[in-house]
């Protein structure tokens, strides 16, 4: 009888011990899973090329990881971009929204008269331009599309490049695609223009004899005197540059990078630059549109 009781007690205590260990294990496991979920969710939230790199959409891209220029910007500059009220580019977007609704020309047409709500009709534009435009048999970028609408449908004079109006409208239209990955088409009729843009990218130029690739493909992440070189993507344009104290077009940046190596820049809106714009957007296909970005 005594022996039997001992056996029973032993069994109970044994059971309790295993149970406790099991519970601890279970808790640990749960914690582990929860932590993992947290990490994954953070990853998903950050995979926009700003805080974490993204994979290029096209596997032929020479860059295996895409980093937005945001990643290389100074801390205060990043903070400025993320704060909608502090982002000086927001003023341009607001002005663009006004221009969108403004009726002009003899027939009193606004952009909205044809395209209605930009947040619906313009959602894709910032992602896919430049595009092939058959009537002119060449590529056109957003600025040129806006001016075509202005001339053909509103019967108004076009806006010159770098005017406040054109920058504002372009920024407003592209901002509708904010957060969506860039995805330009380089096949079909766009193919030869893509090839030209690519050739431009790899061509050494200027007295300093450098190509875009020398800085933005071979040396990104390294400092060039006081500048930290980025991969030189187009996803934030039009961009507010602190150095310019103004919003600026991608072609203004191209001219700056050309002059930096003492090369003769091309004209705003020139075919050479639009082809380069196509090629550059292809290199950045997969990165999110950040318009209006803020950069040093």
């Amino acid at each position: 009888m005594f022996l039997k009781m001992m056996k029973y007690r032993f069994a109970v205590s044994e059971f309790a011990r295993y149970d406790r260990a099991g519970m601890v294990l279970c808790l640990l496991g749960l914690l582990f899973v929860a932590f993992g979920c947290l990490l994954i969710s953070q990853d998903a939230a950050a995979a926009d090329g700003r805080t974490k790199s993204v994979s290029p959409l096209d596997e032929k891209n020479p860059l295996s990881n895409l980093w937005s220029g945001f990643y290389y910007a100074k801390k205060e500059t990043k903070a400025m971009q993320l704060d909608d009220f502090g982002n000086p580019g927001s003023f341009y977007v607001e002005e663009g929204a006004e221009l969108w609704k403004k009726k002009v020309g003899a027939q009193g047409k606004s952009c909205a008269s044809c395209h209605k709500d930009a947040s619906v009709s313009m959602k894709e534009a910032g992602v896919r331009y430049p595009v092939y435009f058959a009537p002119l048999d060449r590529m056109i970028n957003l600025e040129q599309r806006i001016n075509l609408c202005r001339q053909d449908f509103q019967k108004e004079k076009k806006f010159e490049y770098e005017t406040r109006e054109l920058l504002a409208l372009t920024a407003f239209v592209r901002a509708q695609s904010r957060g969506m990955p860039v995805r330009v088409k380089i096949t079909g009729p766009a193919k030869p223009y893509y090839e030209k843009g690519k050739a431009f990218y790899y061509q050494r130029r200027g007295q300093l004899d450098m190509s875009c690739a020398h800085c933005h493909e071979n040396n990104y992440g390294k400092s060039l005197r006081s500048n930290l070189l980025s991969q030189g993507h187009a996803n934030g344009f039009p961009t507010y540059r602190l150095k310019w104290q103004k919003l600026g077009s991608l072609h203004r940046r191209f001219r700056g990078c050309n002059k930096q190596v003492r090369a003769k820049p091309y004209a705003y809106g020139s075919e050479a630059y639009v082809n380069l714009e196509l090629y550059l957007n292809w290199r950045g296909s997969g990165l999110e549109v950040e318009t209006p970005a803020v950069r040093n």
């Binding site: 200027g206 004899d209 020398h214 800085c215 040396n219 400092s223 005197r225 003769k264």
Partner: protein, 196 residues
């Protein structure tokens, strides 16, 4: 008949001759190659002989391995005059001139950056450090490297500081002008030669 025989015979003769000639050629080539290799070994032996009198702690004779890969060089001063290292240093940090520190670091400059940050700070990281550069290159090689680095590193980002041809779309103010003048090259070179 006889004529024909002779003809075909001579033909055969020529054939064997050319075959023999190629053998002789081959042998000649081999001898030449051996000579070249021997010459290489002997120059190295000469170098060893120069320091051969001294011995290391471990008992072996001291020898110095030199890098013969970058054997291209420009031996003579471009200006015919020696360089001034002080002026060379100023040219190296000047953004409109050499601007070498846009890409290269140098400990001597890093030290000076502590007291004169506006002149020496923000050294770049694109090129290798120039510490001890005079120990890695001979003067003539460094001169060529400054004149046209692409002669040594074909794909390099480093500009050619004394060349005016084979460029694309140089902007008007810089057209047909080298980045640096001959004396400026010599000045920078004399500064580099002090970095042992």
């Amino acid at each position: 008949m006889r004529f024909r025989f002779l003809k075909s015979g001579s033909c055969g003769c020529v054939k064997t001759l050319s075959w023999q000639r190629s053998l002789v050629n081959g042998a000649c080539f081999l001898v030449l190659v051996t000579f070249v290799i021997l010459a290489f070994i002997s120059t190295n032996a000469l170098i060893a002989a120069e320091t051969g009198s001294e011995t290391e702690e471990n008992g072996l004779v001291k020898f110095q391995i030199i890098n013969l890969i970058h054997s291209k060089s420009i031996q003579h001063s471009l200006s015919g005059k020696p360089g001034n290292p002080k002026r060379g240093e100023a040219l190296m940090v000047n953004r409109k001139k050499g601007n070498c520190i846009a890409c290269h670091g140098l400990d001597v400059f890093a030290e000076k950056a502590k007291t004169k940050p506006n002149i020496y700070a923000d050294m770049g990281e694109i090129g290798p450090s120039l510490n001890g550069i005079a120990g890695r290159y001979q003067e003539g090689e460094l001169r060529l490297l400054l004149v046209d680095a692409k002669q040594i590193f074909p794909d390099t980002i480093m500009p050619a500081f004394y060349r005016i041809e084979r460029f694309t779309r140089v902007d008007d103010p810089f057209l047909n002008k080298p980045i640096l003048k001959p004396q400026e090259i010599e000045d920078i070179l004399s500064f580099l030669m002090k970095q042992k």
